[in-house]
Amino acid sequence: MSDSTNSTVDKCRDVLLDVKRLKKYYPVRKGLLKRTVGYVKAVDGVDFTISRGETFGLVGESGCGKTTIGKSILRLTEATNGQILFDGKDILKLDKEELRQERRHMQIIFQDPYGSLNPRMTVGELIGEPMLKHRTAMGKENERRVKELMEICDLDPRHFKRYPHEFSGGQRQRIGIARALSLNPKLIVCDEPVSALDVSIQSQILNLLEDLQGQFGIAFLFIAHGMAVVRHVSSRVGVMYLGKIVEVAKTDSLFDDCRHPYTKALMSAIPIPDVTVKRERTILQGEVPNPLNPPSGCRFHPRCPMVMDICKKQEPELKGVAPEHRVACHLTSY
């Protein structure tokens, strides 16, 4: 059902990434013989697409599986099941050599500016390394490109012999971006790239990412738990809860007209820096359940303020409720 909705839409857009039924299960082993007693279902059947040059935001709280998805796409984590079609090729079926080739086209930026750069390499080496590895720019050309990339990312090119620890958090994040940019990728996975930065630096980095998209037509998978940031950068957004996408829509459609109770709660949880706005706040009770033992039926039902009988028994499917707006909730059938 969701497949057919997808393909109709596909024909209108230029799809770069097509994730189908992605699953990542971590086996839990106990005992001397390490028998598998259960699975942590970090990602449990996720579908979404990203078009060329667009930004798809993926939001959710800790443990929802969004970071795992990002890593699975780049095969930094091996998915258990599913298909990841990148420019038509199934990433999960590539062998080592083909994967290395494909890696040129997709890159990742991490959350922690203090842990994502090798402290023993200079900035120039860090930014230039991908190009040396894939032989796209060697020797003098490499140095020229590195300096060019540094300028694009608002870094002083004269600093290319410095080490990461000599830079601030915001600057380190830019180094990471320059490194990711060096191979002209078609897709960059941004794993909470601004969460660890100060507010005044966040806006610099977000603007930079926008500019880069405008200049180079890069698609972004923007993973975050901050909804305001996601709204700002994405053209389409997916909301995740406990390994599944519960709502996916165009940004404005999601934020102005969200349907899933979890999405509503998530949005109302964000404090707004505006004293004049009076809001209806839904404070969610309880904690995110253990992914080893997800609740029956709809995973959100124990905390859902609108829970019905059917929610406890049957897991809802993602269904279209508006143009390009799909929700996984039994409420939509009423």
Partner: protein, 328 residues
């Protein structure tokens, strides 16, 4: 009639790095009234955490040293107190909760033990009574099945629950003032909302004052009565919360408000405050914000502006607003 609970006058703190003392808190003064929530807003390097810690003299010496000023609590200067009196205040009349609940809780003691410790220290209860009080506290902070949780270890609980344990510890002796140093920054949004709601409820119940340190202006708008904005070790703006958001006067405050992405706004390029927060070893001359300020003038480079009233109840440290005639 508002009664002053805390009055800080001319606080100065130095940090000694490589044998050179650097001024990291530069002559700050503020008041906290009974029953109110005072927000202390700033980014990294602003000195907000250091200010909070200095309220209970938690600054480690070396390298930090309080070199001047007074912190008056109910009339008595905390900085001059003897250790015994200070210990009677800590955890008792003034409590503190921190950002990282995992590193603030001792992993080898049960949660119950940690809460009981404060209770028994300040309230002289026997073991049984202390245990009951602990269970009551856990209930108050919204922990399910408190009779079982009291014997849990910190690693068995989630981040949100650990933060509740910390709050329970802080509240165990019904403090008059709770200092909260970014207590929800490390938590997920829905858990953050729960914790903020909890603090609000408790405040209403026991009439506690709160000093809330954060960098999140959204939290400030929703929880605080009065706010002070800090930058590079100084207070640059201080007023009530409505006034701050409707009439931000300091260019830094204005910049911050413009730079944050809004949940209810449309997509467009974000405002950027150019430059970076200065390192405390490398403070600019005159106003510390001037290299990043769109309105910087000659006077700003030469002289440090002081915090002065620009409107009733609204103070700012900026030459542009204060002496309009000066810049004429």
């Amino acid at each position: 009639m508002k009664e002053k609970l805390i009055e800080v006058k001319g606080l100065k703190i130095d940090f000694t790095i490589e044998s050179v003392p650097r001024r990291i808190i530069d002559d700050i003064s503020f008041e906290l009234y009974r029953g109110e929530v005072l927000g202390v807003v700033g980014e990294s390097g602003s000195g907000k955490s250091v200010t909070a810690k200095s309220m209970l003299r938690l600054i480690r010496n070396p390298p930090g040293k309080i070199v001047g000023g007074e912190i008056l609590f109910d009339g008595t200067d905390i900085l001059q107190m003897d250790i015994d009196s200070l210990m009677k205040i800590r955890g008792n009349t003034i409590s503190m909760i921190f950002q990282e609940p995992m590193s603030s809780l001792n992993p080898v003691f049960t949660c119950g033990d940690q809460i009981k410790e404060g209770v028994r220290l300040h309230q002289k209860m026997n073991s049984k009574a202390a245990r009951q009080k602990t269970i009551d506290l856990l209930k108050m902070v919204g922990i399910q099945m408190p009779e079982r949780r009291v014997d849990s270890y910190p690693h068995e609980l989630s981040g949100g629950m650990r933060q509740r344990i910390m709050i329970a510890m802080a509240l165990s002796c019904s403090p008059q003032l709770l200092i909260a140093d970014e207590p929800t920054t490390a938590l997920d949004p829905t858990i953050q909302a729960q914790i903020l709601d909890l603090i609000r409820k408790i405040r209403e119940e026991i009439g506690m004052s709160v000093m809330y340190i954060t960098h999140d202006l959204g939290v400030v708008a929703e929880t605080c009565d009065r706010v002070m904005v800090m930058y590079a070790g100084r207070i640059v703006e201080k007023t009530n919360v409505t006034e701050l958001f409707t009439n931000p006067s300091h260019p830094y405050t204005q910049g911050l408000l413009k730079a944050i992405p809004r949940l209810n706004a449309k997509r467009e390029h974000l405002y950027v405050i150019k430059g970076m927060v200065p390192h405390f070893a490398d403070m600019p001359f005159g106003c510390s914000f001037h290299p990043r300020c769109p309105y910087a003038h000659d006077k700003c480079v030469e002289q440090k502006p002081t915090l002065r009233e620009i409107k009733e109840g609204h103070l700012a440290a900026c030459w542009k607003i204060q002496g309009k005639a000066d810049l004429g």
